[in-house]
Point group: C4
Chain length 215, copies 4
Amino acid sequence: MRTTVASLHAELVRYGLVAWTAGNVSGRVPGEDLFVIKPSGVSYDELTPESMVVCDLDGNLVEGDHAPSSDTAAHAYVYRHMPHVGGVVHTHSTYASAWAARGEPIPCVLTAMADEFGGDIPVGPFALIGDDSIGQGIVATLDGHRSPAVLMRNHGVFTIGKDPKAAVKAAVMCEDVARTVHVARQLGEPLPIKPEHIDRLYDRYQNVYGQRSPR
Amino acid sequence: MRTTVASLHAELVRYGLVAWTAGNVSGRVPGEDLFVIKPSGVSYDELTPESMVVCDLDGNLVEGDHAPSSDTAAHAYVYRHMPHVGGVVHTHSTYASAWAARGEPIPCVLTAMADEFGGDIPVGPFALIGDDSIGQGIVATLDGHRSPAVLMRNHGVFTIGKDPKAAVKAAVMCEDVARTVHVARQLGEPLPIKPEHIDRLYDRYQNVYGQRSPR
Amino acid sequence: MRTTVASLHAELVRYGLVAWTAGNVSGRVPGEDLFVIKPSGVSYDELTPESMVVCDLDGNLVEGDHAPSSDTAAHAYVYRHMPHVGGVVHTHSTYASAWAARGEPIPCVLTAMADEFGGDIPVGPFALIGDDSIGQGIVATLDGHRSPAVLMRNHGVFTIGKDPKAAVKAAVMCEDVARTVHVARQLGEPLPIKPEHIDRLYDRYQNVYGQRSPR
Amino acid sequence: MRTTVASLHAELVRYGLVAWTAGNVSGRVPGEDLFVIKPSGVSYDELTPESMVVCDLDGNLVEGDHAPSSDTAAHAYVYRHMPHVGGVVHTHSTYASAWAARGEPIPCVLTAMADEFGGDIPVGPFALIGDDSIGQGIVATLDGHRSPAVLMRNHGVFTIGKDPKAAVKAAVMCEDVARTVHVARQLGEPLPIKPEHIDRLYDRYQNVYGQRSPR
């Protein structure tokens, strides 16, 4: 899990989702009340499996030589309250954060959005870092929602997945559709997709796409 | 053909036309009722000639260890109905998809567009994935049209060519002009190019440009 | 000169000024009525000193195995009529071409523009490829102008320099300021710079900047 | 310090903050009235520890084979008047320079801005290069301000830090938030963050974030 989480950070860099050290991936350790997360303020070039830190579900450091990410409390809250979640990603990716700065959900006007998010990408509350506020906002917004991504107001994006790779994919796709819908809106109104079409696209993608399991 | 198709996917990555696994190239096998296409949900880093799959013109898997791209039915429909087409490309590239989300054709206001597309880049209908709807929309829009690219409404781009490389070139140029015309329109109206000038530019580029055959 | 011109094409790629094969660099052969230019339709990856072609100042092929760039007549016209020019570059770079599509000069609102261009970047006429029209438009616009760059209407950019590297630098800086001024204008009007300040910045940069010769 | 300053220029390139040679990093030599700075007009590929130049706090060349950056006087002025500053960076990065071209501060509407800049990023005066005007503008604007970045009108960005790496980080984050806030504003007004929340975010980030010292 340390190796997986360390190497997935390279995808955040590859897709331009992060500047300097502002973004992190975590992964639940299967069968344990533990998760692996990025150390705080360490550059992506220097991340190794060994430099990753292991925390319990209250966000306490269990193993590792570095202080855990300053977003650890939010990740821990999600793992505590969403048992089906095996991976969490946080970024300040440009276009998604711009929607978040306006507090505006991203409307589902692309078939790729229907596929991955099953509808609009919702906005969570403004929350200060340092206690459970961010985690509560994520869980309250995503619970019962199809979208694996939430835009936290004035802040950035959190995504969830059955494992860290699925959460990274959701972060990559979230920025991709945030950018395309932004660009579309700059010169007029995108055409809506009918709700029943969104349902059919979502259902198909989640159950048919890919080599075996959809997400 | 497996090698060609596998390696052309790297051009989609290089020009930033695809995120994660959302985009695919196919090529007709010369002299056979078969085509080679990307496997579904496999990352571009992992594509090899061996991982490519071979389908017949009804989209049935003929050879390969993986499930074919979920867009296979659309590619197959094009090969069945457009015998001069030897390559098909599909992407969700940002600027082209933004025009598609508004259902708006890209006006021909650049000499490079006149060269490659011979006029506006047209919009095809909204179509759900899973049957022949997408293929029908592509063929109905491109048949008798100079443009090798069609913007499928709320979806993305399909391009065709005499071979896979020509279709990839059309996908690259489509995003390039979609972006430039978008940027031009953000601060005012681009100046039109007269239809007779578009004709002369298109004719020259298709017959004179390059080392031998134009496209 | 073949080596210089071949390798300078990599700068067009590095700065994202070109898609596929749409852009070219040429350089006058010192002391000869000849210039070296890119072959037509050859990808930047495949360019070598040997694949470059040599033309006389009427644009006729003198040496080389490939057909010269389809823009050769324009380059030749510039070398014939502007004896101080030792390098010419042509691109369809996105932001510069967007200004060109609107037929709008780029206003000098950045000190970096005053440094390199000495004022606005001017617009040249619409001209069809295939005779001397493009070359005439370039020379008529740049003759007696400080700017080494001209935006050819609905087309793209041509830049000149004392040598090919200076022309490439002008192409890179042209796109850079075209983008920054575009972005500035998206949210309001940039503040003007006084003409006398533009003069002082231009004079200083041309005579003091760098290790020895300014440009 | 030569090695540090030389290698930090690669971060300017990596984050796309500079075109051609337009941007520079300097670092104060600990315990001496000297600083190391980039040579003028030398490309980032060619920078080596040996090619860096050493100047005194009046900007006079003390050691090195090249002429120092044409921005040396501005760096020197900052080191003379801000003794806590150990590194200075100057760029013309696109989005920050666009705000500078309009003479408009970047409003603090992102938690990441509150963290790093503690509020709006301020605008400094228009100033010609060649004497102490730019340095005076930087110091007058940043003195007593939380922000380590100043947008110099119609010009670009200067950032300061306790060491060159901190100044480079500020330059990277400045462009990142300049871009995100620009994008947010394109489609409406970003939501404000309350001043007391900005204070709490800034305080926490400066004192808790990272492995040991916050900045």
